[in-house]
């Protein structure tokens, strides 16, 4: 069939691009809302800001029905195994947004109980800064992620299989080790 015989209402593309286009416009978020950022996430989904305009309004509380995890809020050390488990229960293909200063870096909560950035322990595709980020900011994040999905996606998700090492900060950075040693020395001198 020559090109001139193709009717106007038919266009050609690759299967990868068609699948990515469909996926990017129907993200189903999993709201992992653990603190104040969660409230802003709810505002984003509700009528004033209306996340439905971007096809991402179907918040599902079962990880098996979702493909976008939004970590909104600080993650305590007791919550992290739960977060990892929920992430692993989500079916492929899936993405992760780390929303707010706390989820990205631990924020102002630099204590023994708060994980200093979820990207140390789960893969994160996109960071939304702010404390808390405005709904517009989260939407800009979601639009950027849609763009990313449209441009890099493949039908069978081979791009994910290539990401086999952690890109987050090293869990034990040097400062942390020095600090732990100092704390232990202090402890010895006290006792």
């Amino acid at each position: 069939m020559a090109m001139k015989d193709v009717p106007d209402n038919i266009f050609m593309t690759t299967l990868d691009a068609a699948a990515s286009w469909a996926r990017s416009n129907s993200l189903w978020p999993m709201p992992f809302a653990t603190a104040c950022c969660g409230i802003e996430l709810m505002a984003t989904a509700s009528s004033r800001f209306d996340l439905a305009r971007f096809g991402a309004e179907v918040m599902r509380f079962s990880p098996r029905q979702c493909d976008l995890m939004i970590v909104a809020g600080r993650v305590a050390m007791k919550m992290l195994p739960v977060l990892q488990r929920i992430w692993q229960q989500m079916p492929e293909p899936k993405w992760c947004i780390s929303m707010g200063a706390c989820a990205c870096t631990g924020g102002v909560f630099d204590t023994y109980a708060v994980v200093q950035g979820v990207d140390r322990f789960i893969p994160v595709d996109l960071y939304v800064p702010g404390c808390p980020p405005r709904p517009e900011q989260l939407m800009a994040g979601i639009i950027a992620l849609q763009d990313k999905i449209k441009h890099g996606g493949t039908l069978n998700g081979t791009e994910f299989a290539r990401r086999d090492h952690s890109t987050g900060p090293v869990p034990f950075d040097k400062d942390e080790l020095i600090r732990i040693r100092e704390a232990n020395e202090q402890l010895v001198s006290l006792n």
Partner: protein, 164 residues
């Protein structure tokens, strides 16, 4: 007779010290007499509710002679009267008798104090950690525990993208 007078007349030799701050009435009691005093407060003076049980670590605190202070806040629901009762205990192995048999609310409160300060309550039916994970070994509200922990917050497996 007021609560203070009753306590003074029933335990004259124990050197109970009474004080008042704003509208808080406080009494410091020796740890050895804790259970008799609390039982009396409950049975005779009508303190039917243990509103709060908490502790303070006085390590390196100016002028402090004991390491831990354990605080019981009691409430009489008939008269609205409140009493703050305090006792002191020391290292090693700070231990107090449990008041679970007097007030059931002591259950979780004592577990919390155990978790955060490592104070054991003998006779508690189920003295487990309540806030920190079970495998945690430290007691974080002790003053010799560093604010940023000893690396517990970084002690997790890393999930990478290709793990699925």
């Amino acid at each position: 007779m007021s609560t203070e007078e009753v306590l003074k007349s029933k335990f004259p030799e124990d050197g109970l010290t009474f004080s008042e701050f704003r509208d808080n009435r406080r009494v410091v009691v020796p740890a050895a007499k804790l259970i008799p005093i609390l039982s009396l407060l409950k049975s005779d003076l009508g303190f039917d509710m243990l509103a709060e049980l908490t502790a303070v670590d006085y390590l390196e605190y100016e002028g402090a002679t004991d390491r831990f202070g354990v605080i019981y806040v009691l409430l009489n629901n008939q008269t609205g009267e409140r009493l703050v009762l305090k006792t002191f205990i020391n290292d090693p192995s700070p231990t107090l008798p449990s008041v679970y048999s007097l007030w059931k609310s002591a259950d979780w409160l004592e577990r919390e104090v155990f978790d955060m300060f490592g104070i054991t309550f003998t006779g508690h039916p189920d003295l487990r950690r309540i806030l920190t994970p079970d495998e945690f070994t430290a007691h974080p509200l002790r003053k010799d525990y560093p604010l940023k922990g000893r690396g517990e917050r970084h002690n997790f497996p890393i999930v990478v993208r290709s793990d699925g």
